[in-house]
């Protein structure tokens, strides 16, 4: 198989080289739609032996073990392990708030999505990248195979911040569109005034392996502001007037910690994986160490 010649900001060659050796892992083994490179719980056609069982009329005669029939005079069917593909979904929050930071949180999310999608593609998993703002009938492209990498990157590049759908609404629409099983990676800052809980509950109700990656910019984690300020929420133009002071900053940090900690605990309790990503941490490191440790990639 030829390496696709790709030169992209989202997926630099050195990152690609690193990702070549990885594959997506799921703790649950899901039924794929198509034959893939992944062992399945189901028995099927592959070269790998799984089990024997008695012939039941209707079974494919091709799978009879003729040697056993000759020895035992019984019709025994040889079962082989089925190899299937994995459904890998990446859900990117592309709301206006994701447009902050250097690099912007959206950019970071796209890099992350590209890297994970690349891993999926080279293992011939079924990769689908969607954004929260998509309408319920709108679907992102289904990508499979190494040759689709450029399509994936093209699609990612087309994503821009500016969607106004709420987190819960976006996740709900996603769940409605994609009822299948697989891995769902939600990349968002979870900054929704209505709360992230209802949105995540939608994902829990799906039988999917959920990874929540919360992307926060450095400015949010450690704000560098001073004086008397009128803070304007970029999404709903909400205004918060603050006079910056050390206690206020301390209070902000503790609030942030409580928020992050709350999200983590919420996810852990519901069997979801939570990861906090600072936009200053290189994607390479994040995938190479954090996600590997968490078991998303291997």
């Amino acid at each position: 198989m030829l390496m696709p010649v790709t030169e992209s900001n989202l997926l630099p060659p050195d990152l690609m080289a690193q990702l070549e050796r990885l594959e997506l892992v799921t703790r649950k083994v899901f039924r794929g739609r198509m034959k893939g490179e992944r062992r399945s719980k189901r028995k099927g056609q592959s070269v790998e032996f799984a089990d024997f069982r008695s012939y039941v009329p209707g079974d494919d005669l091709r799978s009879l073990d003729w040697n056993l029939y000759a020895r035992l005079d019984k019709l025994i069917i040889k079962l082989f392990l089925e190899e299937e593909d994995l459904h890998f979904f990446t859900l990117i929050d592309s709301s206006l708030s994701m447009g902050f930071g250097t690099p912007t949180k959206l950019e970071y999310a796209k890099q992350l999505a590209a890297a994970l999608g690349f891993v999926g593609l080279i293992r011939t998993d079924r990769v689908r990248i969607e954004t929260l703002g998509q309408l319920s009938n709108q679907r992102g492209p289904v990508l499979r195979g190494r040759k689709s990498v450029w399509r994936m990157l093209e699609y990612l590049n087309s994503i821009e911040a500016g969607e106004t759908t709420s987190l819960a609404e976006g996740v709900k629409n996603f769940c409605l569109r994609n009822a299948g099983k697989g891995i769902v990676v939600l990349i968002s800052d979870l900054m929704d005034k209505a709360g992230y809980e209802s949105a995540l509950r939608f994902l829990v109700s799906q039988r999917v392996d959920v990874y929540v990656i919360q992307v926060l910019s450095q400015e949010e984690i450690d704000p560098d502001v001073k004086g008397d300020l009128k803070l304007v929420d970029v999404e709903d133009r909400d205004i918060a007037e603050i006079t910056v002071s050390a206690p206020l900053l301390a209070r902000y940090k503790s609030t942030l910690n409580a928020f992050v900690g709350g999200a983590q605990e919420f996810c852990n309790r519901r069997g979801m994986n939570y990861l906090l990503a600072n936009n200053q941490t290189p994607v390479k490191d994040l995938i190479g160490s954090y996600l590997r440790r968490r078991g998303l990639v291997r």
């Binding site: 910019s217 004086g227 304007v232 918060a240 206020l248 209070r251 609030t255």
Partner: protein, 703 residues
């Protein structure tokens, strides 16, 4: 009283300044213009603020901390502009002049913890020197009757302290003006034109200085002096109730009753508030001569007379013995309990009478008593042009020269008595003698003017009054004396009118340098128009005429030497007149130190080194020819009580202020005054507040 605040701004400036705090408040309480800043989400911020609002009052305070700091800054700036300050003993200024009084009264022992007032002054000055910063310079001046620069301006504190210790008490009077003029010369620039007719410019840069006067205030107010750049402080030393008895006069003179005998007169002054009994003891050359008790009423003086009979020449010492109710039984100033007088050999006076012929005068001076008082020589007026007259009159060989119906070309170096003529020169002709600058030509013109100007004459003046208290007119009765005509005198300033008539003064006596000129406007015998000699007055027929002649002889020819020399004050030059033509005399001071004295151009010996009190011996070769005594006899110095004044408000007695020019310099007791200025500290605080505000604003560090 130094005020706590000094206003530095005018009302409208204060008005402008007063607008600043309301402006700051307005800026804060009008809606704060906050800088808009877009953030991804106000979600976390809102939650943070909500938490913070729990203790909102404190939060509000905290939010307005910058406001309070700004208000505090303005308040501090205003306070600094008020120049707060208070009196403290800190030195104020950069240049100091310490004027230390070392007159006799400063030897008084009425200060606690110090030997005498001068010691206390030194202690105080030392304290001030210790306080000097590196940038400060100081000068030390001691002053009694003359100022003396002890140390020029220096910032060397060690040197100042060393020099301070060299200030010694003196036995002089006090003259503050000289010391102030010395300080003035350094602090106030003298102005002079560079070229004739130019504008006056400052020759030296003005150097403002602080003058500390350490004195007991025993001096007159300084008049005609402007302090200018000098800032005076007066620190009175000594107590208000210091007790002192003093000998204020000690003279020897001929006894009135027995002119051939001498007597000593001692005056004792009591400068206390109670009467005291004291014993005056007289010693001659160290051996006891006599002692007398004297009662001196409070604040008055009393005299004692000691007959000396025919005591030999020598040194007379008068001692005051008494017992006071003070712990030491002594008064505070012992220096003035002792006085000195010189007893010289009786020297007959030499009297020259220049007259064309005057029987009355000749008869009056022919008495035995008159001859005891001096050798009297009679000469004709032609003698005035002779060389021997010129030499002897210039050398001061005569004690008295009587000019009858004639006048010399110039005043002789002797006492004079004129009959019917005015002395040469303008002095007696109503014109002021131009001082010092008179050259020979103008003198000649004077003489011509004198010759040209006829003295105003009065015919038949009636004697109205005469000075009965004057020694020359003692026991002289002039009630029925008639005078045909007389010159109406215009006595010079300082003269004493002896006889007053209906036409004006007709007899007067006036001092001239060390001599006295007595002038009688009328002649005893006049010369009529036909050249015949006529009697001008009936006075020679009265008993009072020979009495007057004797008095005059005694006053002008006899007693002068003793009394004149007795009154020499320390520091004053002494003129020694001696016959003969020796070039050098030796003077032995009371400390037995010999001083050579040379004859000056005026043919007299002048001795300057009279700084010590006591009896000085004048030696020619190995022989003591004369003695003179040096005493202070200054009532101001002996009255050692610090001049009191009553505080009008609290009715307490405190040391009086001294007056320099038109400025009252307040007496400052206990501490050396200086105003401690706090505005620098306040301004420093304001600066600190400013920095704090900046820090808080930038670093968001609150409390």
């Amino acid at each position: 009283m130094v005020e706590f605040f000094y206003n530095t701004l005018s009302p409208w400036q204060w008005g402008l300044l007063a607008l600043v705090p309301p402006a700051i408040l307005a800026l804060y309480f009008l809606k704060l213009k906050r800088q808009p800043l877009e953030v991804p989400s106000t979600y976390l911020w809102k939650r943070s603020i909500e938490d913070m609002h729990v203790n909102s009052l404190w939060q509000r305070l905290r939010q307005n901390l910058l406001l309070f700091l700004q208000l505090l800054l303005v308040a501090l700036a205003m306070l600094a502009l008020l120049r707060p300050g208070w009196e403290s003993s800190k030195l104020d200024g950069e240049r100091f002049i310490f004027l230390v009084d070392n007159s006799e009264s400063m030897s008084s022992t009425d200060v606690d913890g110090a030997k005498n007032r001068l010691d206390e002054a030194k202690k105080l000055v030392g304290g001030l020197i210790d306080q000097m910063d590196s940038g400060m310079t100081a000068m030390l001046v001691s002053f009694a009757d003359t100022p003396q620069v002890v140390q020029e301006f220096t910032n060397n504190r060690r040197l100042l302290r060393e020099r301070l210790e060299t200030i010694e008490p003196t036995v002089r009077g006090t003259d503050l003006k000289g010391a102030l003029e010395l300080a003035d010369g350094l602090a106030n620039p003298s102005r002079m034109p560079i070229q004739e007719g130019d504008k006056e410019i400052d020759v030296v840069e003005a150097q403002p200085a602080t003058v500390y006067i350490f004195s007991d205030g025993r001096f007159e107010s300084v008049k005609g002096f402007s302090l200018g750049n000098l800032k005076p402080y007066y620190i009175p030393l000594g107590s208000l109730a210091a007790k002192n008895l003093a000998i204020t006069a000690f003279t020897t003179r001929r006894s009135d009753a027995h002119p051939e005998q001498r007597q000593a007169f001692v005056q004792v002054a009591n400068f206390t508030d109670g009467a005291h009994k004291a014993t005056v003891e007289i010693q001659l050359d160290g051996s006891f001569l006599d002692a007398k008790e004297v009662n001196v009423p409070a604040n008055e003086s009393a005299g004692v007379v000691f007959p000396l009979a025919d005591a030999p020449a020598g040194k007379l010492v008068a001692r005051l013995k008494y017992e006071l109710d003070t712990p030491s039984k002594h008064d505070v100033l012992e220096q003035d309990d002792i006085a000195y007088a010189a007893l010289n050999d009786q020297k007959p006076g030499r009297v020259l009478v220049v007259t064309p012929g005057n029987v009355a005068l000749e008869v009056a001076l022919a008495t035995e008593r008159a001859h005891k008082l001096g050798t009297i020589e009679f000469e004709k007026p032609e003698f005035l042009t002779s060389d021997s007259y010129k030499r002897d009159s210039e050398a001061g060989a005569y004690n008295l020269i009587v000019y009858d119906q004639c006048a010399p070309a110039s005043q002789p170096r002797a006492n004079t008595l004129y009959f019917g003529r005015l002395p040469p020169g303008r002095t007696w002709r109503g014109g002021q003698k131009p001082d010092g600058v008179e050259d020979e030509k103008s003198k000649q013109e004077d003489g011509e003017a004198a010759a040209d100007t006829p003295a105003p004459k009065a015919s038949g003046p009636q004697i109205v009054d005469w000075d009965r208290s004057h020694p020359m007119l003692a026991s002289v009765e002039l009630g029925n004396v008639e005078i045909a005509d007389s010159i109406v005198l215009q006595p010079p300033p300082g003269a004493t009118v002896l006889i007053d008539s209906t036409a004006g003064p007709i007899a007067a006596v006036a001092p001239r340098d060390a001599y006295q000129d007595a002038v009688l406007g009328f002649e005893i015998f006049g010369q009529g128009a036909d050249g015949a000699r006529t009697a001008n007055t009936n006075w020679p027929r009265m008993l009072s005429f020979p009495t007057f002649c004797l008095n005059t002889l005694e006053y002008l020819a006899g007693g002068t030497e003793d009394s004149q020399l007795a009154s020499t004050r320390p520091g004053q030059p002494v003129e020694i007149r001696t016959a003969g033509n020796i070039a050098e005399l030796t003077v032995i001071d009371p400390a037995k130190k010999e001083h050579a004295v040379r004859r000056t151009a005026q043919d007299v010996f002048q001795f300057q080194n009279t700084s010590q009190v006591g009896v000085y011996d004048v030696k020619r070769g190995d022989q003591v020819i004369e003695r003179f005594a040096v005493n202070l006899f200054d009532r101001q110095e002996s009255d050692v009580r610090v001049r009191p004044t009553q505080d009008s408000e609290s009715s307490t007695i405190k040391p009086a202020d001294i007056k320099i020019g038109n400025i009252e310099v307040q007496a400052t007791i206990g501490q050396t005054p200086a105003r401690f200025e706090a505005w620098k500290i306040v301004l420093g605080c304001a600066l600190f507040v400013l920095i704090l505000e900046w820090y808080i604003y930038n670093r968001r560090v609150y409390l």
